[in-house]
Amino acid sequence: MVSDESELSDADLVRRIVEGERDLFREVVRRYQRVVFSSISRQVQDAAAVEELAQETFLKAFLALKNFRFESTLSTWLVRIGLNLTSSYFVSRRYRDQQRFIADSEKLERVAHNQAATDVDERMNSQTLQRALTQLDAKFHEIIVLCALEERSYEEAATVLGIPIGTVRSRLNKARILLREILRKEAES
């Protein structure tokens, strides 16, 4: 049975799940949990939040599976759902409270060590970049995640976001320049 499931194409899998074989969704999870999980974990630092968002992504996908028309691959669709959920998470109260707490902790630490990081270079690390990413508008945030973090091709990103390839490139470029501005502002403050 397990081998049968793993041999099924995405289309067959989706069709059979929609027709009522709900247990087959386990195979969808198995196939794409790594993609979804890594996509979210590159944006969100909190491990618990990553897991929760990944679960939510699959739940949403399950609920909307009957509307999936294979206009993109199942993987792309799942990542799209994950991106949307992550964007929502970044504007949630839970996230804002968490970030305030982290910022206060860092400020205290800096005062304690009498450090004043001013350059982007000095302040640049994965954590600060992650935090800066969340300050971007969703459309810039997504493009960084897809193209820079997920290493998807411009074509794939264009499919996921439903925009032309030229727009993907210009938006990615703009996103990095905006990130720099955010990091500079953080450094100055």
């Binding site: 247990d23 999870v29 999980f37 590159r42 399950f62 992650q130 960084i144 290493e151």
Partner: protein, 359 residues
């Protein structure tokens, strides 16, 4: 090269898609303007950090898929159970709302809920021939003289109605015939014989006139069984009591179309308010012939309980001319002042419709 233009070309420069001339201009701008050089350096640093961030991705634990499936089992069963008994949640919500609204309306208290009782009401419309025979069932005892159309539709004060009805009861052919019949009925003879005297007393004292009315009713029901007689007495008593307590509920009928044929006599034989049971008798004109007769009630969701139609053939006997309809409506439903329905007659090529309204 201006800063905005420089910014737009950074990615193209890194990906080496610029033509030679633009690439040279880009490099010259970077060399001439330190802020553009800093911008380029920061851009590269961000790209490096992105790579670090890329490696931060975590793998889901082995229990991840189990947790997802558990959550689907708990609450994620919606897509396939979304249709609750094949109805969408929105539709179910709508139906439940309507049901609740109906319940609330039904639970709304009537001003005074009177106990179940039998009441006799009748209104004879223009052109209706008074029935000389007692009705097969129900406590109808009196058939007044036909009213004119104006009389049937005008507003009359409740007390006046009571007086009119009492007078009608005395002067009605049935009451008079009851007097005559009373001569052959020893048990009722004394009462019938005293009718003229009682009429004088009634003018002087209402209480006595009520007693007279009861007596007349007894006399009029001479041909009935003992049980029917008792019911008739209690019905008239109840109506008198009703005269004192509340306005008499009269049944009014007005033709919707100008009928060329005589109008029927419409009588509410009995009203059991407590049970919400209305028994409506429609007496067709004396010369009514075969045709179809239909009663449509305008009581919304309750209409089906009271819809009725009759199709009669040949010459109609007196009994056949009486069409009985039993209406079951919630006792809380106030029918006063409402048009409860339409009675339609189709005979030959002519049609007529009569609006039935309880003032």
């Amino acid at each position: 090269m201006k800063r905005a233009e420089f910014e737009d070309l950074i990615l193209d420069y890194i990906e080496n898609v610029l033509d030679t001339k633009t690439r040279a201009e880009f490099e010259r701008s970077m060399a001439e303007q330190p802020e553009l050089a800093a911008l380029f350096r920061d851009y590269l640093q961000i790209m490096v950090s992105e790579r670090e961030l890329r490696d931060l991705s975590r793998d889901p634990g082995p229990a991840f898929s189990v947790k997802v499936m558990d959550r689907i089992e708990e609450g994620g069963a919606k897509p396939f159970f979304k249709n609750w008994f094949r109805f969408s949640p929105r539709l179910v919500a709508g139906v439940v709302s309507v049901a609740l609204a109906v319940l609330v309306i039904r639970e709304m208290p009537e001003t005074v809920k009177s106990p179940p009782r039998q009441i006799v009401h009748e209104v004879t419309l223009e052109g209706a021939a008074p029935s000389a025979e007692p009705l097969p069932e129900g406590p109808v005892q009196e058939t007044p003289q036909p009213m004119t159309k104006a009389e049937s539709s005008k507003e009359v004060e409740p007390k006046e109605i009571g007086q009119i009805k009492r007078k009608e009861a005395i002067n009605s052919p049935k009451a008079l015939s009851a007097e005559n019949r009373g001569k052959s009925a020893p048990a009722a003879a004394p009462q019938a014989a005293s009718a003229p005297a009682a009429k004088r007393v009634m003018d002087e004292e209402p209480a006595r006139s009520r007693q007279f009315e009861i007596d007349s009713a007894i006399a009029g029901s001479e041909g009935m069984q003992e049980q029917k007689r008792d019911r008739a007495i209690s019905a008239v008593e109840a109506r008198i009591a009703d005269d004192e307590e509340s306005p008499v509920q009269e049944l009014a009928a007005a033709p919707l179309s100008a009928p060329t044929s005589p109008q029927p006599s419409i009588q509410i034989v009995s009203i059991d308010r407590g049970q919400g049971r209305y028994r409506l008798t429609i007496v067709l004109p004396a010369h009514a012939m075969s045709g179809s007769y239909q009663l449509d009630l305008h009581l919304g969701v309750f209409a089906s309980a009271a819809k009725g139609s009759r199709s009669l053939q040949g010459d109609l006997t007196a009994r056949e001319r009486e069409l009985h309809f039993e209406l079951m409506v919630p006792s809380e439903l106030r029918l006063s002042g409402k048009e409860i329905g339409t009675f339609r007659m189709k005979r030959g090529g002519s049609q007529s419709a009569h609006l039935i309204r309880i003032p």
